[in-house]
Amino acid sequence: MRALAIRVVTQIRNDRRSMAMLIVAPVFVLTLIFFLLADSDYVPKILVDEDGVPAPLVQAIYEQDAAVEACPAEALGEPEKYLRGHPDVDLIVTAPKLSQETDGQGIDGNGMISSVVDVQGAGSQTAGGQSAPGETGGGEGLDFYMLESNVKSRDAISAISDAQVSLNPSSEVRTHTVYGSADDSTFDSLGYIFPGVFTFFFVFIISGMTLVRERSGGTLERLMMTPIRRFEVIMGYSMGIGVFAAIQAVVIVCYTIYVLRLESLGSVALIILAMMLLAFTAVSFGALVSIFATTEFQIVQFIPVVVVPQVFFSGIIPLETIPYGLGNLCYIMPMYYGCRAMKEIAVYGYGLQDIWPYLVALVCYALALGVLNTLALRKYRVV
């Protein structure tokens, strides 16, 4: 068993690409994600209908952190058409013209302008509040036009809300969160998922590839023709690849927390433990899949089937929002347990006494897969 583990370690060490896959690749991808999801200093471009929108609000909008310009006449007449021609404009703010008030529905059906947020509903409270002094330039409230609803247009809308709040401080909403803070970047709130996802992904590939290579090269058959026991083969493998899985878990967690500065309230050692258990499960998972694959290429084909769905259940999407109770599928996905444990440690600051069920689930998963793998080796030797 030890001989097998040592051999696997030597083998992977001699293969520079495998080493790079295990250590360099996750660090690279995590860094990339860190920048992709970090807070950007994007300045939204807003056009304001200076004649229609109440003057104090126009003034307040100009004071916001946005590129604000007066709305040209052509944009006022046909805002949808104007937006199509000027994709750099994130938002057009107008006061509703009485004749256009029912237009909202019609525009909805238009494919390109996928969403026109009409503040009559959501924002009328505040808009109505400060238009009371009598300076209305048409109907009540404001109309927002945007090309599509995305991060940029939401930035623009929040600039308008900020402007409204500055005019009417009593309408300010202060957000209080139990965990984290309201102005966390996407990386701050989802960052804990990625170490789990990548640990699983890369270890799965290494494990599956190593074993499938062994199967197709005939070396597995050969080593089964020595008096080694079947469970020793599986244990030896898991230990050998497990060494790298463990190293990878430490590297990824430390990199995320100490270099990318993802805040962790709980113990880093506990996070590493959870990651290692997840990685060991990935070893067994890769080994199991390798039974159904005859070439390395087929291992890759399995990724969309067995790895990608798990990513969606890792916590990227709140499971309660998934329809038909499909969120419960998370319980059969090892990645859920690993990522959930990491979230509760990092974000909630929980300790071992709170998260142990997740760790036990991972251990059970790895053991069950180990038994399956041992049984599958009967294909090579009947005893």
Partner: protein, 243 residues
């Protein structure tokens, strides 16, 4: 350790690969399994190892019935493809297989020297196997099979792709092992190699059509070429079909 096969049959799905094979291999014999590809040579070797279970019949090594796990410690197996690890050096391969057979460290060192010497790989021991030539891989694979000094050697085409000089050297080594009481079963489709063996079993279409001492078999032929026995078998089959 004598090896006895009694009415062994094996089919894959509905295709019969071996039909009622019975033969006895005495301790210290060098047997060669001759036959065209697809005749069931490798399957027969796998059955003897216990890698496959026979559908019917039995195989015994001495008193032990195959499959048996401890028995594998006494068998050296060399598969047809070069089943060695390309990401390891030649010596690391041997160390690995030696440890699987639980050879004590000091003895293993000695054994590795011996088998490297025999297969002429001493100079290339530290090279990674992925830089080996085809013949070198084959020799390393053979070295791994000999490492633990097994009583029985089951070698699937051990000398394919090895140059004549080295091939002669390897056969001489087999002879030497035989002198020490080891039994060797070799599959081959190179008819010349039959001359090195004591006995030959001719497999054709999953059946043993001839089994006996090589010189006896040669007497049955007209021109002293073992192939003639296969030609006879294949023409006999044709006659059967046409009649």
């Amino acid at each position: 350790m004598d090896i006895r096969l009694k009415e062994v049959s094996k089919s894959f799905g509905k295709v019969p690969v071996l039909k009622n094979v019975s033969m006895e291999i005495r301790q210290g014999d060098i047997i060669c399994l001759l036959g065209p590809s697809g005749s069931g040579k490798s399957t027969l070797i796998r059955l003897m190892l216990g890698a496959l279970a026979a559908d019917s019949g039995e195989i015994r090594f001495g008193d032990t019935r195959v499959p048996n796990l401890p028995l594998l410690g006494n068998v050296g197996y060399m598969p047809q493809n070069d089943a060695v690890y390309t990401d390891l050096s030649g010596e690391a391969n041997l160390t690995f297989f030696g440890r699987l057979h639980s050879i004590p460290r000091a003895l293993l060192k000695e054994r590795i020297e011996a088998v490297l010497e025999m297969t002429d790989l001493t100079c290339d021991r530290n090279k990674l196997v992925r830089d080996y030539s085809g013949g070198m891989k084959k020799r390393l694979s053979l070295a791994a099979a000999l490492l633990h000094e097994p009583e029985v050697l089951l070698l699937d085409e051990p000398t394919v792709g090895i140059d004549p000089v080295l091939r002669k050297k390897i056969w001489e080594a087999f002879r030497e092992l035989q002198a020490r009481g080891k039994s060797i079963v070799v599959t081959t489709h190179v008819m010349d190699e039959v001359a090195w063996c004591d006995k030959a079993a001719l497999l054709y279409g999953g059946e043993v059509i001839e089994y006996g001492a090589v010189d006896e078999l040669l007497k049955k032929t007209e021109q002293g070429r073992i192939e003639e026995l296969f030609f006879r078998a294949s023409s006999g089959e044709r006659e059967e079909v046409s009649s």
